[in-house]
């Protein structure tokens, strides 16, 4: 059996939403620990949408965004992406390294700080998922790219495209003091892993 997001029922959707909530919550907690400050998180928005809408998530196909991608191996295989616009990326870097720069380009050190943020956020997201499902989930070292939203999002969209015509994404808004940061998580299981995931969660037999 192959499952696509186009065909999920309400219960399965709710479970995936809840994973999104817990994963993003765990990620934000890790961020708070890393910067040693209180970080608030709004309830994440979990959406399943068609390709045509995907690149509008972050303000259009040509909006410059930062994408952090890692692959996942173990019981669950696939990819995970954390994506945010360059303004949000700048704010995160500033919080982490205590800078007040407004530049939208990043030097080597800032890029590696961004990678580390992506590593921690996606890593804690996946840890939450592993804890919930009792599955072994091993993330790779993250890769980072800064380019047009459409181009960055084509990578997860193509993976989703193999099984259906829609994408699962989780939008997270977190804030430290008055600084608000919006970021999106995209969990991209391989075709065979949908079943593994939903089985582990007890949603399908």
């Amino acid at each position: 059996m192959t499952i696509s997001f186009d065909e999920l029922n309400n219960l399965q959707m709710d479970v995936l939403r809840e994973i999104g909530n817990i994963g993003a919550g765990n990620a934000v907690t890790s961020l708070a620990k890393m910067i040693d400050k209180k970080v608030d998180m709004a309830v994440p928005k979990v959406k399943i949408m068609g390709f045509d809408k995907v690149s509008q998530i972050l303000g259009g196909e040509e909006m410059i965004v930062v994408g952090i991608l890692l692959s996942v191996t173990g019981d669950l295989t696939g990819n995970m992406m954390f994506i945010l616009d360059t303004f949000a990326a700048r704010q995160l870097v500033n919080i982490l390294i205590g800078s007040d720069s407004t530049s939208l380009s990043f030097d080597e050190m800032e890029l590696s700080a961004l990678k580390e943020i992506g590593n921690i956020l996606t890593g804690s997201y996946l840890n939450a998922l592993a804890g919930l499902t009792n599955l072994r989930i091993l993330p790779s070292i993250p890769e980072l790219a800064i380019d047009m939203a459409g181009a960055i999002l084509s990578v997860p969209a193509i993976e989703f495209g193999k099984v259906g015509d829609s994408v699962l994404y989780i939008e997270t808004e977190f804030s430290e003091g008055i600084t608000k940061v919006l970021g999106d998580f995209l969990l991209i299981p391989d075709i065979d892993s949908y079943e593994v995931l939903l089985k582990a969660l007890g949603v399908i037999e």
């Binding site: 192959t2 696509s4 186009d6 390709f51 045509d52 995907v54 690149s55 259009g60 196909e61 040509e62 410059i64 994408g67 991608l69 692959s71 990819n79 790779s140 890769e143 980072l144 790219a145 380019d147 047009m148 939203a149 459409g150 181009a151 960055i152 999002l153 084509s154 990578v155 969209a157 193509i158 993976e159 495209g161 193999k162 099984v163 259906g164 015509d165 075709i191």
Partner: protein, 162 residues
């Protein structure tokens, strides 16, 4: 002269008569296939995501796959007055956006999209006049019905005309 601007999304295709410009924004690993019949002044553009409909479970969207999208686009253009034997092609996109060391399927998809597009065009005897493919950056492309020129815009890698 005002020209009509037509936008093609991801896994989408469109064609039209002169005067028009067809564009697709932010091509990454996907490939933009721009077709042109200079005599009829009919242009077409497809934004394909995957190489082949044959391996896919759900292949209802013909614009998603290189093999089926090209066939559909040529058919649409012929309906608008183009002649198949006059159609020429230009290609852009097929980038590898992330520099992964592990050679997973995900990473070679851009390259495979380009190869599959060329194979299908060859099978249909449609010559590829020029291409701007590969690399690790995104592209926005525009094809003009006036002369079939294809403009390729990037962030940080400049603009070129094919």
């Amino acid at each position: 002269m005002d020209i009509e601007i037509i936008k093609v999304g991801m896994a989408d295709l469109n064609s039209a008569h002169h005067p028009c410009m067809i564009t697709t924004l932010g091509l990454g690993s996907c490939v933009g296939i721009a077709l042109y019949d200079s005599a009829a002044k009919v242009v077409g553009l497809a934004h394909v995501m995957l190489p082949s409909s044959e391996q896919a479970k759900n292949n209802s969207n013909t614009a998603k796959f290189a093999d089926t999208a090209i066939v559909k686009l040529v058919e649409d253009m012929v309906k608008l007055g183009a002649r198949k034997e006059r159609i020429t092609a230009k290609l852009a996109g097929g980038a590898q956006m992330f520099a992964f060391t592990q050679g997973s399927d995900l990473m070679r998809i851009g390259y495979r999209n380009v190869i599959a597009s060329k194979e299908k065009l060859k099978e249909l005897n449609i010559p590829v006049l020029s291409e701007d493919t590969g690399g690790n950056y995104g592209r926005t492309i525009e094809i003009y019905s006036e002369d079939g020129r294809l403009m390729v815009k990037t962030i940080g890698c400049g603009m070129k005309q094919l």
